[in-house]
Symmetry: C2
Subunit: 358 residues, 2 copies
Amino acid sequence: MAIADLFGSASLPWLNIGGRESDVVLSSRIRLARNFRGIPFPNRADFTQLAKVQEMASSVLPEMEHAVGQSFDVVDMDRTSPLEREVLIEKRLITRNFLRSPQHRVVFISQGRHVSVMVNEEDHLRIQCMVNGLDLDNPLSMASGIDDLVESQLDVAFDEKMGYLTSCPTNLGTGLRASVLLHLPGLVYTRNINNIINISQQLGLSVRALYGEDDQEWQGDIFQISNQLTLGFSEEEIVGNLKSAAKEIVSHERRARKALELYRKDQLEDSVWRAYGILCHARSLSEKEVLDLLSKVRLGVDMGFIGEACAACFSEILIGSRTSYLQNLAGSDNMSGSELDRMRAEAVRKILSVHRVE
Amino acid sequence: MAIADLFGSASLPWLNIGGRESDVVLSSRIRLARNFRGIPFPNRADFTQLAKVQEMASSVLPEMEHAVGQSFDVVDMDRTSPLEREVLIEKRLITRNFLRSPQHRVVFISQGRHVSVMVNEEDHLRIQCMVNGLDLDNPLSMASGIDDLVESQLDVAFDEKMGYLTSCPTNLGTGLRASVLLHLPGLVYTRNINNIINISQQLGLSVRALYGEDDQEWQGDIFQISNQLTLGFSEEEIVGNLKSAAKEIVSHERRARKALELYRKDQLEDSVWRAYGILCHARSLSEKEVLDLLSKVRLGVDMGFIGEACAACFSEILIGSRTSYLQNLAGSDNMSGSELDRMRAEAVRKILSVHRVE
């Protein structure tokens, strides 16, 4: 994938349908936080120190590429437009934190977009590995491989008692954050989602809606579940804990869908196809409406109401319908809401026209 | 067209898009009421007298066929199932009046379905001629041709002062009822339709919604305008009066559409395409919803938002989505509402799949 595709293409391989439990689990992610000994954390470091970190990280880049088996694009925030940065956030390849000040903020992104290493985010290094479906082991082993490589060449801050030292105490210890993206329309529709959120929190997990978090409107019915604790547990324990919680939620979601199929099959099938018809033909679509319709269509695919063909469009529409993506495509953040909605509908139609189902 | 198509096909040539002012006027119709001298009107006639009327009418059928240049199907109500009769009503080839008692009620229907002659409806003969678009002259000349032929061979009740004698006094004189079907979504949307109805009534015209009349919900935005008076005017005056009223309404409707295009083009285009998307994909559709969606799509065709291709489907969906048509197709009037709605959605999808537009 060319570097231009990072901003210009809506495709994101690890969000495509695939992997284990892919009827419910969209993707899994491992993130490791690491810092170099003797250099202040990025928020306290001066430009010379940030430059030093950037230099150190860059020095191990060839080995990273070798370990992952892919070349990496190096994206310098200082040479990236604000609109392009928003696209990277939307694609979850960088965080908003990363943009506080762009100097010496660099991200290494693998060609397959499965690996992103942020340099000088909250910590010196944030190593992220993403895959489709429910699979925390492979991204953990990939992230650990990159980490081993870094530690073999550079002096990483580690304390026998505290583990890896991190800028924020919530990351102390393993420096590990594991997360899973789940599509839970069944639990939302049957109003069981709040129970799931409450129970997960009691288990030390954090659950949040990927879109529309603020207003308690769960746009798109997509939720991220991640571990809250990093200290006092081994990496295996953290990952194992999250994995079994995710599996539990998956089985609750499947039960909810079975119940819907039993009692509301006709209405459900009708609403799935109407959603598809509107996505295929509307001339104006808001961000929120796309997510609502897309959730229905994805549910329809997973429940077998609608052809697999349009499953391929899911991730592309998810990214390609976002305002930030459209603004970057148009090279302007001055478009009116109705211009954006028109452009969004056009983008969605274009994606769906490739994989039309009947 | 085979006689089986009368009940099994939703196609109705004179409702297809075509003719003059076809962006607003769906079709035009002339109906003549005639009675034979010396035989009581059908509601007072005994079976022997009704049989005599049927025999007289049948005797001129070959000449009618010759005059119209098409063979006629002869449909005997006594040998027609209740479900089939409903289809003929839906297609406007017979009236509900015609069904009060089926004995000796026969209708002659031309192959092109433009001419229907009811024998023993309220009057001995009801000669109907229908064409696409705004054109009362051709159907009038066709109906008059048939009438001339009848009068040349049979003794028709005519009074020098009263004109043609008819069962109901409202048809006395010319026995002529002229009517036009108009699609008026612009006037409905801009809330000018009530003015049009009131003014038309003051001009001696009757305006009624074709569907959903009772509850003042004008389903499908289709209206029929016809003359109320038959006595004291010549045929030419009646037809001329209706024609100029129709032209006036057409220009009001066009102005309303222009205003919509000026102020609401984007919303309108979006709603037209959404309607099309839902018609193409929904798995359940009520009669009312089909009419609402179909009205939007037809408006979109006439305003150039959507390809002509799906214009061809308009009349077929209009008939093919009706409950009576579906019940006859299924051979049952015992289907539940949801079964019917599912069957209706399937029928609409099938019709649209032939003429898909993007």
